[in-house]
Subunit: 252 residues, 8 copies
């Protein structure tokens, strides 16, 4: 039983559409359910939406298609929104057999099934990307944020070596309540963006680059050492994490 289900139940009681005895029984049953389901190889957390505002998200990396499918079935069966990140196409094939309604987004490699349990964020969430190659990570962030109930704007290919491309978009920067900035190579874009706005900036280094980019270390260090003081950082290529944090902020 998630937050919106609880809310509905209470509203129906208040409206006289549900008698208190039935409501009580339903609530007690819900509380009797184990907060997680032990599948042996995984413990699916059914109270996460209550504790943290969004159901458990499945990290596809390192799980077999069969494991992903079994966990997905568990989540959907409880009425929760499904989100699997870093999902390979064969994981999606396996999920489809048990969750026929699930969709697959190939660029950000997400498996999703929207259900009615997610609250709306208060403002606009802007995803900025430095280059075309950063799109898979930027889209992981943007699509995750949308699924979590946020209005999302995108501003792509505005790297710092061509500042005018960014500066002409100042109005959109100022319209956002929270900004995710995705960049590889030297990772300088979050500093520049943060200097132009007064809202929190979540920086996502990407593994885009070669040589001394060291798989994203250069961008990560650039962002951690940002001379702009409104920038916090997540792991390399972690578009999902950035979206989750931005969504938490946007729901405050």
């Amino acid at each position: 039983m998630n937050t919106s289900q609880i809310k509905t139940l209470l509203e129906r009681v208040a409206a006289g559409h549900l008698d208190t005895a039935t409501a009580e029984r339903q609530l007690v049953e819900a509380l009797r359910e184990r907060p997680f389901e032990d599948l042996g190889f995984a413990r699916v957390d059914h109270h996460r939406a209550l504790r943290q505002g969004f159901p458990e998200v499945v990290l596809g990396l390192g799980k077999t298609p069969a494991q992903v499918a079994a966990i997905s079935r568990e989540i959907v069966a409880r009425g929760s929104t499904l989100l699997v990140t870093r999902a390979a196409p064969d994981a999606y094939e396996a999920v489809k057999t048990v969750v026929p309604g699930a969709s697959y987004l190939p660029v950000p490699r997400l498996i999703t099934l929207q259900q009615q349990d997610v609250a709306r964020g208060h403002g606009q969430l802007l995803v900025v990307a430095a280059g075309t190659s950063d799109l898979p990570v930027a889209e992981e962030a943007a699509c995750t944020a949308e699924l979590m109930g946020n209005e999302v704007e995108r501003l792509y290919d505005v790297g710092v070596a061509g500042l005018h491309r960014l500066l002409t978009e100042r109005r959109r920067l100022h319209a956002a309540r929270v900004i995710i900035v995705v960049a590889g190579m030297e990772g300088a874009l979050p500093s520049v963006v943060s200097g132009l706005v007064s809202v929190p900036v979540i920086a996502v280094p990407t593994s885009i680059g070669y040589g001394a980019s060291f798989g994203g270390i250069a961008a990560l260090l650039g962002m951690l050492n940002s001379c702009a003081s409104g920038v916090s950082v997540v792991n390399i290529d972690n578009g999902f994490g950035a979206a989750n944090i931005a969504s938490l902020i946007n729901h405050l």
Copy 2:
């Protein structure tokens, strides 16, 4: 002319205490001022409070006492709140000669002078520290956040190896609108805290530790790889940055 000065001016006009001609002249003069003052070695940014909600903060590291003092005088002369971070005692000596009202907090090594230009945050900001040795960084965060207009709570010495110390404080964790978690060594506390709440967690790795802590790298990596998805990270020992971001969030 900062946000509160503009507000005051407009209120005085609205109340008939100030004629529009004078108000216009004052506004035009303010706009004529350069947005920054070039001291040769530094460009003091006088419009930062307008753009970013808080006046320019001085990073004491790598500046001579004379440089810190000159910049501080510039900032205070414009009516802005003064905050110098990583300030050695001799920098404070130099600042006192030109800003007699400035205070010095020795544990977080901050020089401060509060003026009337900072708005209040909306909720409670909680600073959690893993161990006693993390206090200087935790206090840098807590005192900065207070200066930036936030109500700050402190919860110290609740490292993960003695979980009961943290779990008995769950009520305080749930009362916060945004949480800063400061930890050295393995840096595991933010993951545990984030799993217990549904608000954003800003993680600050500290350089506390020895051997394979590598001056905070172990804690930094632990936080970047957090299995809890509500954690974003700032630079090692960057209590100030964490406070600034948390304050931005708390002012949304």
Copy 3:
């Protein structure tokens, strides 16, 4: 001649089932055998079970199937239990042709053949894993420990971001005589587990993660810097080593 063969011989002498002359001749012959067999590319150590309590274990990594098979035949021919770690399926194919009774466990990639030469450990050995993706390493540890004569319990998917999943299993934690904790990403689980028990914890970092996990370095550093003082660490993904150490402890 391994420990249990020596024991049997002496018991038969004591029981009068074997005359001392024959027993003497058998012992002398056993001592005359070279302590290792030189295959040219490998020296199979036949006295290891005597010196260290378990026969030589074959690390499959970097050996050709033919080499693995030749070493396996040598080991089995002397009546020793066979254990090949990090064995690819083609290595198993080669072993089967010379050791028909050998089994293959695909998840932990082990080739095994149990023989009667392993003593029982004194207590319960618990293997804890943070996430589903850590299973191959956790199973390498669990299966190795079982083969080495230990009663093994498993507790999987109890990462620190959902503490309640671990805390509801406290009874099982307290029942163990020695605990192996397997975790990737930030590697914080061993600190939390060690804080809850008073037995030694062997921590195994895994290469699970991405970006700044650097193939397990983040987890390794997290474990080495554990603020809980009962944690010692083995190499990344070294489930076998952890099991061997835990078994040594459990046989004390």
Copy 4:
């Protein structure tokens, strides 16, 4: 109330020296005490001996002398054995003023006060050190282990470049129930020792060396990659941690 105090109380009840009403009252009061004492900057854990077999140990690193002294007074006041590691002489000066009976060991930099709450380990604990320069770490391990109730043997300056020095001491190696091996530079000694015995070896890399020893990284990596499978590792220079683990094993 620690384990030995509980034991004494129960024995006095059994022997009729203490009436059950008084005993009950004393036990209830003990349970009413908070499991930790909040000093503001530190939470002293008074139930740790119950949970983990030894009272809380104070890591001196990063704490002011005044903080060390305040924590030490708390610990001693509850009847617990005191152990402060990495204690500078001025910390000892501060402790002496509030715990007059405390001793200082300058080589391992330990402040100690033995009280009657520690159980004896079952066998001999051997501390092996590769070189003379490793003595401070080796002595931190040896003195800690003694304080924790273990019979400790020492075997120093037996580096692998002069194997005969080690091989002539085989009898002492075989007499130990658990072995701590302390080594800097290439850190090869634990592999060699572990190959000679059948008990667990706890390896402690030290920061001794220069150039490419990188403050102990070379030794740490050497130990983590040990080809001997009975070696687990603790942080660089962490003699205390090794002793704690070895003591846990020796008390099983």
Copy 5:
């Protein structure tokens, strides 16, 4: 005999002020001189100005004051301009005793004595610095470039977090023939500057920063991974090297 001495000699011959026999003898003698002077601990290179356009420069780091003084005397005695970098005050004291006319610049820590052997560069050389703390390195570059015959402009404290400070100086950026950009922390300034101009940019990372700046590594990596393709990089804090390269370019 350096380039300007050769030029003078030839002009005097052409003007009839010097007979060819004398000129020939002087040239032969000059060629007879060893191209370097062996001081035992150093070989002073007297033909470097001929080969490379500027006399040998002395790196003060790692040399004793006596060594610096002896080399300086050698250089000045041949009529060459003296430049000692990374010179401590005591090195200057020693040099003054043998080269009384030498000057000391304390901020960039340079010892200098200008002589008449340096050609003028063709255009303006601009030194840009991100922050006040980068001044010692920026001044090492600027003063070196001046000594090498270049007209030098300075533009300091224009970090990327306050872009307007840089953008208002576009005219000065466009006036330069070659630009040196000095920055610590995330090192993003060279990318931004290079995107605004069409001349070569020499980037100098500085060791300014803390935590994950790792003594300048973050800035160095940022610069090497610059998405602007006109940026080449020198060693951390190597203001001298940047000036030398910029001067070579400016003399083409």
Copy 6:
């Protein structure tokens, strides 16, 4: 409208072949064009040749063939020279369908189409390579530089372990106005070359090597620490960047 188109227009006006009204209209229209074209996933920069002397170059790495083709069409349609670096053969297949005249150079993996908009450099640009394995990077540099309007000489397989191969080519070294030196392994060649000439040297470390070359880090560090002061460095394998910088210098 690029530089050469503007020049042609003005010359036609001066020669009376174009009336000023038409010229004015054409110029106004050109200025009305957006300085970049937003393709959604990329913003193609059409004024780059004006700002930086060469049209925007496409980094093929991390872009899909369809993205590379769409950007290439945009660039060619405006009359600009096309250069795609790190282009896989399938990217070339896609480009050919929309830009039939494009060529592919398989060794340096470049897609090119020369148009009439590039000015000639002033002198000779020399590309030096240490070994045969460095050729792909050296050719990326050489072909890029040629496309950018430079006369390019090549000098390959002259590594420092066989100095005579380099020393016999001194004349060619002295003939160059700017030198690119490409080397892997220890990366010592730029230091040696720079010591022999008085022009700027751009060093390109390559990822050629094995073991402790760490994918080019050894060469990169060698070049950054060059004892020759005329060497600046670009990213590992960045032949394109070196060519761009060398071309900027050669056009001064």
Copy 7:
């Protein structure tokens, strides 16, 4: 003309089998030959055997089969012994078409053709390998050393965790004039071997291992920090280099 050809010529002159005029002409012609042959992509060094005692060796890594074949033909045509290291099978296929007599050793991946130009070393060269997985590198060393004229002994699978395997071979260790020790993982074997002998030990770290072996870094650091002072080190997996150095020593 290599050393043995020169020796033959002189002996024939001394024996009266060759007149001095012919001999002179042959020598002059040989000197007239260029010391290297420029193939465009490679400069084959024909005087290397004269300068360094062995003809130029071809590193196969990073060269195309066609390049390897062309260089091989050049070398063999001058009567020199051919050695190609790190040669893939397709490189051998290409070489065979132009050098039909060439052989291929698949384990060390060497292409060879022995000719009569190599002098014999003075003593025995011993190659020691720690484990079976180190064989490819050990064989690269052993086969190279044989080709360079040395008598080579092999001693394999004598890792430090089973010391008795090494100690029983002491006689063979003492018989060697120079020893190559090949080891991965912790790389401790060279220290142990060097402590047992009084001849130089060349240590070769291998990339064998996993996790914190970091592709051979652990072994490399172990060897560089050897507490035995007779150990020098070559690059990871550089069996060829070790053999070359050992051969140089053995020919002194």
Copy 8:
């Protein structure tokens, strides 16, 4: 009893100056002596000269003056040559009180006392240093080699950026039987030297440099990746180790 003492005894027997009974008794007594002396904190190895050709050398680093003095007294008492490396002046003060004849070399920081037990090497040993700052390490090598019985030549300040300084000394390079090359910064000198000679080159990286030299890592990597195949490497700043290896070679 060292090698020369044994030789003397046998010669006296052969010459009839010593009766066989006395000689036998002396030899038996010598064999009865323990091969090392256990000082508690150190085991002084008295048979090392027999096993390895030179008595045990004391690494001063990490030992107290009292420890250095006690070990030195032990060594000298047995008639062995004393060598203490990395000795601070206060260690020398302590040694002088127990070994009055000991000398101190301040540049390489060595304490020495020559006794009559060292054999002469066969050829010339050359120590080459790249720069003046490398002298302390170069002198540690040169003085150690002299003490070990070698004729030592020195060639200093011949870095690769001024090749002519090295090339004019080719005759001295060719005269050496073994060469030690000491260099910091990019560490390129060993490659160049090795390319010019046909004897083994021992490379010593030094910690001289700044920024990206990373305390000698750049030089170390440069040397390990040398494209010249006659170079083996020792630890950073390990002049002693290089001398010991070179001396072993020179005594073959």
